[in-house]
Amino acid sequence: MEMADIRARVEAAFAHAQVEVQGEGCNAEIRIISEAFDGQGRLARQRAVLGLFSAEIASGELHALTVKARTPAEGAVA
C-alpha cells in the first residue's frame, strides 16, 4: 500500500490530526497527534487506527504497522 494512501485514510478518519507516515510496501509506521485520543487508553487508540486497515491487514497487503498515537497535550510523538 502506498504511504500517501495510508496517510490520506488516517487524515480522513481523524479531522485536524497531525499525521506522519513512514515506511515501504507492507511495513508502515504511523504517527498521529489528535485530540480524538483524549481519554482513550493505548489499546483503544491502536484499535481505532489499525481498524482503518483491517481489510489490508487481513489480506496481508499490510503486514507490519506501528502506531504511535498521542493527544496534543501529550506532546510530540517520540
Binding site: R42, L43, Q46, R47, G51, S54, A64, L65
Partner: protein, 103 residues
C-alpha cells in the same frame, strides 16, 4: 474443542502469554522479537505461543481479541496489546507493576 475456547484456555493457563511469530529463542518477525526482548528485560516469565506453528490460532486470534496484528501479549487473560504498547509500558514501569499485581 472450539478454537475460541482453546485460545481462552491458553490465556487462562498462564499469567503472561505472548502470541508471536516464531519462538522466544528464534523470533521470525521484528515486532515479535521486540516483544520478547521487552518481556525478558522486564524479568517477566511468559508462555510463548508460536502462531506460525498453529494455523488455527493464527487465523482466529484476531477475531478472539478484536485486534488484527501480532504479536499479542496477555496478562491474566487480558489483552495488553502489541509490541508498541508493551514497550511503552515497560519504559513507564507499568508493565512490571501490572505483572506484579497479577500475582
Amino acid at each position: 474443542m472450539d478454537i475460541l475456547d482453546r485460545i481462552q484456555a491458553l490465556v487462562d493457563a498462564h499469567k503472561v502469554v505472548l502470541f508471536m511469530k516464531g519462538t522466544a529463542q528464534f523470533p521470525q518477525c521484528g515486532f515479535s522479537s521486540r516483544a520478547v526482548q521487552v518481556l525478558q528485560a522486564a524479568g517477566v516469565e511468559f508462555h510463548a505461543v508460536n502462531v506460525l506453528d498453529d494455523l488455527e490460532v493464527y487465523e482466529n486470534l484476531p477475531r478472539f481479541a478484536d485486534f488484527p496484528t501480532f504479536p499479542q501479549t496477555y496478562i491474566k487473560g487480558e489483552l495488553i496489546g502489541g509490541s508498541d504498547i508493551v514497550l511503552e509500558m515497560y519504559e513507564s514501569g507499568e508493565l512490571q507493576e501490572m505483572v506484579q499485581e497479577a500475582a
